[in-house]
């Protein structure tokens, strides 16, 4: 038996390896790499592969940025199921709000608390 800790480590690590290869081999900038992974996450959810991956790897699939695309799509699809086409737009942030709201709140708190340092 392989526990969820091992699968999360391996799957999470492998998603990061894909990111590293996009940067080093395909020579993408970090921003392009992250955008590609987000798009990949939402496509994978569209064909229904990402949720099983989360069941398999837990945080190994929910912590990488791919899960951001997945949960946006997931929210949109859940609302679309209930309300039809209009739900595609309204449901998007239903699931992802925590990541963005946490980033905004902690971003502001971080700005209040810290100043940047030009050290090595």
């Amino acid at each position: 038996m392989i526990s969820i800790y091992i699968t999360s480590f391996i799957v999470g690590g492998l998603i990061c390896v894909i990111g590293q290869l996009l940067m080093d081999v395909a020579k993408l900038t970090p921003a392009h790499t992250l955008c590609s992974l987000v798009v990949a996450g939402s496509v994978l959810d569209g064909i229904g592969w990402y949720e099983p991956l989360i069941d398999f790897a837990g945080a190994g699939a929910t912590i990488p940025i791919t899960s951001f695309g997945n949960s946006l799509t997931h929210g949109a699809l859940a609302e679309a199921e209930k309300h039809g086409l209009i739900g595609v737009v309204t449901g998007m942030f239903e699931v992802t709000s925590s990541g963005i709201s946490a980033a905004i709140v902690f971003g502001l708190i971080g700005a209040l608390l810290f100043t940047s340092k030009g050290n090595v």
């Binding site: 800790y5 999360s8 970090p30 945080a59 990488p64």
Partner: protein
């Protein structure tokens, strides 16, 4: 000298990125961050009323909080220099992009500086996440309507 000839010379003499080493480091750092996330999720499942699935929301928020602390104390850039994509791809990298921009632009004030620049780096991730989600969900909804696939 021709541009192509120089490009050739440059390629020959410049140090190449140690891809294998970088990939291994990205795997270890990224895996470790996800493992920490799994432990935090376990904490929320055990002590609060979260299921495996719903625990991912507070887990993500906690990871971003940790990322804020590491960014503020100047440690995240060191982790990123070592781990590369291993530090950039997890949600902590998203947090780092937001928090570092916010800290950097503090000198221009909280409205124009912090507010205006917070999503300078992370904004494109949100844009493409939202837009791809929109397209994917739209296609799937239409396909379901026409009975090609089911939910």
């Amino acid at each position: 000298m021709e541009q192509e000839k120089y490009a050739h010379l440059e390629k020959e003499l410049s140090p190449k990125p140690p891809i294998l080493k970088n990939v291994i480091k990205a795997f270890l750092v990224g895996g470790l961050i996800c493992l920490i996330g799994q432990f935090i999720a376990l904490f929320y499942i055990t002590f609060f009323d979260f299921t495996e699935r719903t625990a991912s929301n507070p887990t993500v928020a906690t990871m971003i909080f940790l990322s804020m602390l590491l960014t503020g104390f100047g440690l995240y850039k060191k982790i990123a220099q070592f781990g590369g994509a291993g530090a950039a791809v997890p949600i902590t990298g998203f947090g780092n992009a937001v928090v570092s921009s916010a800290i950097e632009h503090k000198s221009e004030g909280y409205v124009l500086g912090v507010g205006g620049n917070m999503f300078k780096l992370a904004g494109s991730v949100i844009l493409f996440g939202v837009f791809s989600a929109f397209v994917v969900a739209l296609i799937k909804t239409i396909l379901v309507k026409f009975g090609v696939v089911s939910w």
